[in-house]
C-alpha cells in the first residue's frame, strides 16, 4: 500500500481506529474529524428516496455556522433501520458532542456498511472516548481517519491543495471512501473535506456543490445509486484567509474542484474487478446538463464497458448510447475519438486501423472517450470503469 499523506488544515484534528464493529482487529471502523472552533459546514447527499438514518440527521443540520465535527463509522450503514435507526444516528452525534463539550446539533454523522441491521451501540459507546483521545493534527492522524471510513476499499483515499487567499496560505484536505463495485449491498461513497479558509455557510455550500457536480456526481461504476452517499465540507477560518475578490474565489473554487475530482478518480481507480479507468469527455452541447446526460448514458452502458474490457473499438455502442440519452441530436452532429484516435466523423465511421486502437486500449489502463457535438459550447467530463468477469464474480459472491 503506497499512499501519500497530507497535513491537516489549521485548527483541525482527526483520528481513526478499530472499535469492534468489524471482526478483524486490524481493520479500522470508526473515524472522527474535529474543528477546534465552530466551522461553516455544508453537505451534499444522495438523492435516493430510500436513504440511511445518518443522511436524514446530517442533512437537517447543514448548512450551518457552528459545526464542530463529523463522526463516521464503517461496517454498518444504519440504513433501512426505521425510527430506531434515526434515534441511533442522533445518539452518535450526542455522545461524541458530550465528550467534546459542544451541542449535539453541531456534530454531523455518516455510516457505511451493511444495511438493515441496527448499530451495535455498546461497541460504539466504548469506541467514542478512545477516538476522541486519539485525535491529532499530524498527517498520520488524517490517514487513520481515512482508513476508518473504508469498507471494501483497498487503499485509503486522500487529497490536498494549498493556495493563497488574501495574503494567507489556505489548505484544503479531503478524504473519501468508495470501492463502488462490491460495497456491502450498495456502492456507498462518503467524502469529507476540511479547509481553514474563512467562508460563510452559504459560501461553503456553493463551493461544495460546484465541486461535487464536477467530481463525485461525475463518476459511476454501474449506475446503482447508494442510499448513503454524503460529502461534507467544514471551513473553520483558522488560516485567516478569505477570498478577497472574484479572482481569488475562482482560485479557491478551482482548488476545491481539483481536490474533489482527484478523490473521485481515486474511487474509480479502486473499483474492484476493473481493468480500465474510462474518462468520457462530451463537448459541444447547449447546456452542461445535456452533456452530462450523454456522458452518463455512455458510462452506464454495459455494452460500452465490455467493449473496453475486450479492447474492441466499438464506436457503434458509444454513438448509440448517446442516441438514447434523451438529448435532441442527430448522427451527423457527432464526432468520436478513442484514445485520441478518430473513429467516427460527422455521422459516419472513418477508415481507422482497428488493431492500432485495440492495442492502445490494451496497453493503457486509462482510456479516453471523446464525443464532440456541434450544438453548443458546454462540455462535461465523466469517469467510469470497464465491466469484467471479475466484477460479476465479486458482486455475485458477496454475501451480507
Amino acid at each position: 500500500m503506497s499512499v501519500t499523506v497530507f497535513p491537516l488544515p489549521q485548527g483541525f484534528r482527526a483520528a481513526g481506529l478499530h472499535c469492534g464493529i468489524k471482526k478483524d482487529p486490524q481493520v479500522f471502523d470508526l473515524s472522527l474529524f474535529v474543528s477546534d472552533v465552530p466551522a461553516s459546514a455544508a453537505g451534499v447527499f444522495t438523492t435516493n428516496l430510500v436513504h440511511g438514518a445518518p443522511v436524514k440527521v446530517s442533512r437537517s443540520r447543514v448548512p450551518r455556522a457552528t459545526a464542530r465535527g463529523v463522526v463516521i463509522n464503517s461496517g454498518n450503514s444504519n440504513a433501512c433501520t426505521g425510527e430506531r435507526g434515526f434515534a441511533d444516528a442522533e445518539w452518535m452525534t450526542a455522545e461524541v458532542a458530550r465528550l467534546l463539550g459542544c451541542p449535539a446539533a453541531d456534530m454531523l454523522v455518516c455510516s457505511t456498511g451493511v444495511i438493515g441491521r441496527f448499530l451495535p451501540k455498546e461497541t460504539l459507546a466504548a469506541g467514542f472516548p478512545r477516538v476522541v483521545s486519539a485525535l491529532g493534527a499530524s498527517p498520520a492522524h488524517l490517514l487513520d481517519a481515512a482508513r476508518g471510513i473504508m469498507t471494501t476499499d483497498t487503499v485509503p483515499k486522500l487529497s490536498t491543495r494549498e493556495l493563497q487567499l488574501g495574503g494567507r496560505t489556505v489548505r484544503l484536505s479531503g478524504v473519501c471512501k468508495g470501492a463502488a463495485m462490491i460495497a456491502p449491498n450498495m456502492a456507498t461513497m462518503l467524502g469529507t473535506i476540511l479547509t481553514d479558509a474563512v467562508l460563510t455557510p452559504s459560501e461553503a455550500d456553493a463551493l461544495l456543490r460546484h465541486a461535487v457536480d464536477r467530481s463525485f456526481n461525475c463518476i459511476s461504476v454501474e449506475g446503482h445509486m447508494s442510499t448513503s452517499d454524503t460529502v461534507l465540507l467544514l471551513a473553520n477560518g483558522r488560516s485567516g484567509g478569505a477570498p478577497a475578490n472574484a479572482a481569488e474565489w475562482a482560485s479557491l473554487q478551482q482548488a476545491c474542484d481539483e481536490l474533489a475530482a482527484d478523490l473521485a478518480q481515486q474511487i474509480i481507480r479502486d473499483a474492484e474487478g476493473a481493468d480500465h479507468e474510462i474518462e468520457i469527455e462530451v463537448r459541444g452541447l447547449p447546456t452542461r446538463a445535456e452533456a452530462f446526460r450523454i456522458a452518463k448514458s455512455i458510462a452506464d452502458s454495459p455494452l460500452v464497458k465490455t467493449a473496453i474490457t475486450g479492447a474492441d473499438p466499438n464506436w457503434g455502442r458509444i454513438v448509440s448510447a448517446a442516441g438514447y440519452a434523451g438529448v435532441p441530436l442527430a448522427e451527423e452532429q457527432m464526432t468520436l475519438w478513442l484514445n485520441g484516435l478518430l473513429l467516427y466523423r460527422a455521422g459516419a465511421p472513418v477508415a481507422f486501423d482497428a488493431k492500432e486502437v485495440s492495442q492502445s486500449i490494451r496497453n493503457n489502463r486509462r482510456v479516453k472517450i471523446e464525443l464532440e457535438l456541434t450544438l453548443g459550447g458546454e462540455s462535461v467530463r465523466f469517469w467510469t470503469c470497464d465491466l469484467t468477469a471479475e466484477y460479476v464474480r465479486l458482486n455475485a459472491d458477496y454475501t451480507t
Copy 2:
C-alpha cells in the same frame, strides 16, 4: 433445437433462406413475409435518435392500408450508413415489390446485424427472386422465415394464438429475434406479427402499441437501446373475422398481448450468458408509467442482477433501485417478495431464512421479484435476466 411450429394466418406466405450475407451456407440471412391481398400495417420502432436506414423507411410507411409484406435481412443492419444506406433500404423494398407486382411503398423493410457497413446489394439482388420463389403457407415456411432474421439467437422464436371474432376463427402468428446480449454491436430486437383479422390501419396501430407496451417494451438485458428495434403488424382480413363489440376487441387485444409477451420472454430465455430469467412485478402505483419506471430501474441494476446470479436474497439492492427510479415513494410504502417469500415489509426487513431463499433462487431458472406499494392500483410486469461472467466474456470478446 426443439421448436414448436405454427400455421400462418390465412392469406399469408413466408420464406427464409441463405442468400450469402453471412458466410456459413447453413445459416439463413434473408426472410420475406407476404400478404396475398393489401393489408393494414402498423409499426413500433426504436426511440433511439441514432437509428438505422430501414427504421427511417418503414416508419415513414405505417400506419398503412395497402401493405403487402416485409423483407428482412440479417448479417448487416444497414445502420450508420448515411444517405447511401437510406437509398439501399428503399431499393430493397423496390426490388421485392417489383417481383411481387406491387408498389415499392407497400413493402416494409428491416435489417439486423453489424452496423456501419453498406449492404451487399449484389448478394441481396440474387437472393430476392429465390426468396420470392420459396414463399409458402406451411408451418415450415414460417419457421424458415423466423430463422432468416436470427443473428446470435440460438433458437428461432415463434408464437401463435387463435380466437373467434364475429363467428370466424382468427389467427395471429408472430416471429421475433433478439439474443440481446451478444447481438452484433447492439441488442437489436425485431418482430413481425401476422393476422387474418379484419382491422383498419388505426385499429392495427392501437392493437400493436398496446401489446408492445406490455411485452417488448418490458424486457431489458442491459438497458442499452438498439438503433434498429422494430415490431410490425400486418392484418389482411382474410379470415373475415372482425371484432364485433368491445368484448371481442378485448379478446383480440388479450390474444395479441399474450402472443407478444410470449415472444418477448423467448428473447429473455435466449439471452446468452444468463443463468436466470427474472420477472419483476411492481404493483400499487397511481399510474402504469410509474410502475414501469420502478420495474426498469430494478431490472437495469447490475447489482440486482449479480445478486440473483449469486443466489443472494439482497433486498437492499432491490429496494434502493426503486428509491432512485424517480418516482415519489417512501420506504414504509414498500413490501417485497422473492419467489413468493417475504423479505421486506412496509419499510423494514423481516426475519427470513436466507438459506431457503438462496436455495429457491439456485433451484429455479425463473426468478420472480414482487414489489408492492401502497400508492394506487396500477401494476406492470417486466422481464430481464441476471448478469454472469459469461455475459462479460461474450460481450468483451465480440469483434466486429
